[in-house]
Amino acid sequence: MITPRIKQLIILLIASNYFACTHGSAIAPVNFLQPYSVLLRPDLRDTCSPLTLAFYAEAGFSSNNYNRHNNKTNALHIWQCDQNTLAMLKGFGTNNKISQKSNAIAANDDGIRGHILADGNLRVDFAAAFSAYWRLGNHFIFSAHLPFYSMRLSDVCYQDLTQNILPEDIRVKELLTNNLATNIFTLGQGLDIGSWRRTGFGDITVLAEWAADFPQAKPMLKNVHVALRGGITIPTGKKGDEDLLMAFPFGNDHASSILGGLTLDLTLGSYLRIGGDVQLTHIFGSTRARRIKTDFTQTELFLLEKTDSYKDYGLTQQFSFFGECINLIPATSILIGYEYRKHGDDVLSLLSNAFSPAISTISEKLFDWTTHQCIIRANFDSSCLLGDDAFVTPTISVYTRLPFNGKRSAQTSTIGGILSLKF
């Protein structure tokens, strides 16, 4: 039975989250490694170590991408299944060179003319993170987390669906799609539609956490662990590159955020622990040059116009549930968890009147996205071997993250390990 004090804590936490808003790690629709995730972070409950350091490393081994209908698809199809190069030329001024190109082509979109099927392999090749935890008293923990990512878009290829029958078809090919990359680079202010590899740090996250155990004298329920956390991110992450396809930011795209979360887990008997975690992140809006739609019919990959805009980010919600088998084999545990992230709709406001805000706001990539992933982690705690008076007690974990569903998201299956050192 949950005591009244625990109830108060839960209510307090939920109320605080209402005001503290959300988000996990980044605003990109990618399941980036999040070192402070409740499913990956070191277990600090049974230790009195004032300092714990954790090192994460993981490698991606397959990509799992989902479109708006939650169907698995290629990474370059998460927003649209094909890209419209004729629509790409619309919405510019009368005497703009892009309009002149459009009028030179003078071809209507019959559903396939000017449409491009783009394929590519987008994945996080490698991710690492460093976390440091400082314990202050019995209930307070301060932590800082710095992730590092290496991501690439590879094997990019384009298939022009335009036929070669009608004059319009031929014009589209000759004037546009036969030299698609060059044309887009020239007209699109340097938009490169080829492959890329990007490496860099993510945002630093600083958290303060209050945690407490409430032992229960029950036949089954032995302990209730409650943790309440809050923090900020510092925009140290690599920004998104608007001149590359799907080159997402590694953090919040130079925007700060605040986050809050609550973890509640229950120890049942001697070998089982179950729990859940809620985390909400609010990202502060930011202004920067972004690619925008200039016509309703445009598709997301080939946006030629880059202009200053203010983006008001949607709320990011993250829910995790887990079950952990503990001490079935001494010093080891196995955790199976599920993590769900949802990022709400973003709103874009243009800083100029040159283009229609009504059009630029109706963009697939501004709409909500979700990720679903399963995390399996095995831990080995060496304290049983080294004794309680050891200067440092390492804990080794191996894990895998397996995305299995989502919406408008590009996810990577990874396998990795964690070394945590408790001093």
């Binding site: 510019f92 559903g111 004059p167």
Partner: protein
């Protein structure tokens, strides 16, 4: 629409003598029911029941007394001294009647008969014969003046509810000379007889009264001008220095009554004038059969007259357009304007265009419009056969119905149309030749142009005994399954291209006046590696008049295979001739080919007349010539062939040996690199002048240059600034006297419509230019091509119409504005028509949203590639990936 009928003796049709047929209604509404409320008395015998309708007019406008906004005004056979107006009051039909007195100024009496009526939204005008005489024109003849109005009267039992006021309708003849409402025994019509000064041209002899006045006066009220035009056939008096005018202008003036003025002053007429509405000379006839008023899109007004100087029987083939003074403040408002008067634009206090005025009336013979003037004679000439029975003015077009002797082998019956050609100031400078407006060839007695739908309703069966009115009426519509008259042309061509990728890529009509066709007319549709040629008609016997649609089954030639397979989608075609031989030349994505006999010759022009085209080209094959790619347009003009590709313009000389070796001598006149553009979009050529559209600019042949002799090094092109341009010009439409695009800079010149459109910005607009005709020795100057006087804001030219979105095809006939676009992702393929015309006018360009869909159903991704008119039938066609549809 309302129908008034007179049945033959013994027929019971008179029981339904007046009826109304509404759009989409299954059956007409009978206005000749046995009893109605007559002059406020319920269940009274209906004056229309079992009565023949002699005269019918419509009174339009809101009137609180009668609910209908359009009310029939009727004179019946049995009560020729009464004028009736009918309308619904509540749910009941109410008929109001008024007696008409003659114009005896001292002792007015009931007229012996009304022989013509017209109605404004408040008044009715009736041409009345004198009491005791059956001859209109005798003393006492006049114009009756009837008012329909309402007054509010309190009910007998007043209540606190002010709505209880009763609306009383009055319908009465006013005393025309004074405008007062007098007792019926004192009420007079306005004298209109053989002594009326407005009809007389004073001479030296005092006895210059007209010797005769026609018995079929024509009354036409124009609401915009607020003028009543009274036309009547007249014969001048015995005095050779006197004369007659056949039209007078009347206007009601509050508190004064009805006034009558001459259409032009005496001083404007002398013995040498050729004005169709007035003449000096002894016993000379001037005849008027029909009148209408045209309010042009350039905001000027013209009186359209069927009639001429001469006896009535010989003047039914000429229609004239006479400029009118349209300055409401001027005493001469509604009279003939001086032919050299220049329009004056009037702007409001925000500098927005308000109206255009012609203020100078014709006062001297030099200023009087002449029937020989190209600006005056509609259709460019008098018809050679047939009788014009109806004229309808709509937009910038005049439609006529022609009845001809059915036994005549070259029967010329049908509906024809002529369009105004404007000079830069907005005045009419000429007219297109008469062209068929619909495929109907039966003698028509009535024509209604529905501007909301673009459809025509044609009333025929003048002598039909059929009591079903709808069987005597034909409504045009858009069809794929064409009726017998089109010999299934649309479905035949659609079938030919059903399996061809992209369907019909290009479709073009070649009227009978096309050089090299010897009086034949062709319709050519092209697609991927395929050409279908339909011979749609031949010249109308000995007459140089529009021929009749006459598609023979074996006159459809489908040509494919051979070297056509090497040029891909065929985008353009032309008939080229050296006057001895003619060739069909087509161009496509990967080249150009010419249709020749095995010995490389074309068909002999002299043998082409009266033969089936399929027989003429039997054994001919297409042979590729030159090394062209992406051919956009081919034009044959004079002895030159112009080939426009995406990137260059070539000129080839046409002669018997030019294409013998497959590599004719071609001169590249210009290319895209010279104009820093990416692509050429369209071109028109006429003699020495060419207009070339690129994706950036509109170019014309430079001053002093001649496209027939141009060399690339000359760089003889200059930019033409498009008013308020939204992008490039994507197509041209030329309104020329001959209906041939290649005559746009010949003769009197032309009006050119430019479809100025921008794919990228999703905009389009219709811009007009006036082109001056160039003689062989005339040089091109800055004045050769000028924007037409379409003005929105003071100080700058504008487009005529801004469309709401991008459109890629446009067709107009002066009255109807059709435009369409191919399916484009989320915007479907559609064909639209401007509804609510005629209000297309300078200064009212924001009409885009008034275009409404023509009821044609295309797949969303269909391409609409061609829109135009089949000259032999006058029917509009639309062609594209869906095949072909015809409006018939």
């Amino acid at each position: 629409m309302f129908f008034g009928m007179t049945a033959q003796e013994g027929s019971d049709l008179n029981a339904h003598s007046l009826c109304k047929l509404e759009e989409h209604a299954a059956s007409p509404i009978d206005y000749a029911q046995k009893t109605v409320t007559l002059n406020g008395q319920a269940d009274t015998d209906n004056p229309f029941f079992n009565n023949a309708i002699e005269h019918l007019a419509l009174m339009e406008g809101v009137n609180n007394g009668l609910n209908d906004t359009i009310r029939p005004v009727v004179v019946t056979k049995n009560q020729p001294h009464l004028v009736h107006v009918a309308g619904n009051k509540g749910k009941m039909l109410e008929v109001l009647s008024a007696t008409i007195n003659d114009a005896d100024l001292t002792t007015p009496a009931l007229t012996s008969g009304i022989i013509g009526i017209a109605a404004s939204n408040q008044f009715i005008f009736a041409a009345a014969k004198p009491n005791g005489s059956n001859t209109f024109g005798d003393l006492g003849s006049g114009i009756g003046y009837v008012e329909l109005g309402v007054i509010a009267a309190k009910t007998e039992e007043p209540t606190s509810n002010t709505d209880a006021q009763k609306i009383l309708i009055f319908f009465r003849q006013l005393d025309a000379p004074t405008g007062l409402s007098l007792e019926s025994t004192l009420t007079r019509s306005l004298p209109f007889d053989r002594t009326t000064p407005a009809l007389l041209l004073a001479g030296q002899d005092a006895t210059n009264n007209l010797t005769a006045l026609g018995q079929k006066p024509v009354l036409h009220w124009d609401e915009k001008l607020s003028r009543l035009f009274i036309g009547v056939s007249t014969c001048s008096g015995q005095d050779a220095t006197a004369g007659t005018r056949s039209i007078a202008v009347a206007y009601p003036q509050k508190g004064i009554g009805l006034n009558i003025a001459p259409i032009a002053p005496d001083s404007a007429f002398n013995n040498t004038t050729n004005c169709p509405v007035g003449v000096r000379g002894a016993c000379t006839y001037a005849s008027i059969h029909k009148l209408a008023v045209m309010h042009t899109s350039t905001a000027l007004s013209y009186l359209i007259v069927l009639g001429d100087i001469g006896i009535p029987e010989q003047t039914c083939r000429s229609v004239y357009a006479l400029p009118l003074v349209n300055s409401p403040d001027a005493a001469t408002h509604g009279t003939l304007a001086a032919i050299d008067a220049q329009p004056e634009d009037v702007f409001d206090d925000k500098n927005k265009f308000e109206r255009r005025l012609l203020t100078h009336a014709a006062t001297t013979p030099d200023q009087l419009p002449s029937s020989h003037d190209a600006a005056v004679l509609i259709g460019g000439k008098t018809l050679e056969s047939g009788t014009i029975t109806t004229i309808v003015s709509s937009g910038d077009s005049v439609y006529i119905t022609v009845a001809d002797d059915k036994t005549n082998k070259n029967n010329f019956s049908g509906i024809f149309c002529s369009r105004a050609i404007f000079e830069a100031s907005g005045k009419i400078k000429g007219w297109t030749c008469w062209q068929r407006a619909t495929i109907a060839t039966e003698p028509a007695i009535g024509l209604i142009a529905n501007h909301d739908t673009g459809l025509f309703t044609i009333l025929s069966h003048e002598n039909s005994e059929n009591t079903d009115i709808q069987q005597g009426m034909r409504k045009t519509e858009w069809k794929q399954e064409t009726k017998e008259e089109h010999h299934n042309l649309a479905s035949l061509i659609t079938t030919e291209f059903a399996t061809t990728p992209g369907g019909i890529v290009h479709a073009q009509d070649f009227p009978y006046a096309t050089k090299g066709l010897a009086g034949q007319s062709l319709f050519i549709a092209t697609g991927v590696e395929k050409v279908v040629v339909a011979q749609t008609g031949t010249k109308n016997g000995p007459y140089d008049q529009p021929q009749k649609f006459n598609l023979q089954t074996d006159a459809l030639s489908t040509i494919s295979g051979g070297q056509l397979t090497t040029i891909g989608a065929i985008t353009s075609c032309a008939i080229a001739t050296d006057n001895n031989q003619s060739w069909l030349i087509v161009g496509g994505s990967f080249g150009a080919t010419i249709l020749t006999s095995p010995d490389n010759s074309g068909w002999a022009v002299k043998n082409a007349a009266d033969k089936n085209f399929s027989a003429i080209i039997a054994g001919f094959t297409f042979k590729k010539f030159g090394d062209y790619r992406a051919v956009k347009k081919i034009i044959a003009d004079d002895s030159y062939l112009y080939i426009l590709t995406d990137h260059q313009l070539d000129r080839l000389a046409i002669n018997a040996t030019a294409f013998n070796n497959g590599t004719p001598d071609a001169t590249t006149i210009t290319d895209t690199s010279m104009h820093k553009c990416e692509r050429f979009l369209d071109i028109i050529v006429s003699g020495k002048c060419a207009l070339l559209a690129t994706n950036k600019h509109l170019l014309r042949t430079a001053n002093g240059h001649d496209v027939r002799a141009a060399q690339q090094a000359d760089n003889g092109w200059v930019r033409v600034e498009i008013p308020e341009s939204v992008g490039p010009v994507i197509s041209f439409e030329c309104i020329t006297t001959s209906a041939l695009t290649t005559d746009f800079a010949r003769g009197i010149g032309s009006t050119i419509h430019l479809l100025n459109a921008n794919y990228a910005t999703n905009e389009s607009q219709l811009v007009r230019f006036a082109v001056e005709g160039l003689g062989e020795h005339d040089a091109i100057t800055d004045a050769t091509i000028c924007p037409l006087a379409d003005v929105f804001k003071k100080g700058s030219s504008s487009s005529l119409i801004c469309f709401d979105t991008f459109r890629n095809v446009l067709a107009t006939d002066g009255a109807r504005y059709l435009l369409g676009n191919s399916g484009n992702n989320k915007s479907p393929c559609e064909l639209r028509i401007l509804a609510g015309v005629p209000t297309v006018r300078s200064g009212q360009r924001l009409l885009g949203k008034r275009f409404k869909n023509v009821l044609l159903f295309f797949t969303p991704t269909a391409s609409l590639n061609a829109l135009g008119t089949i000259s032999a039938s006058g029917s509009l066609f639309a062609a594209g990936s869906f095949g072909m549809r015809i409006h018939e």
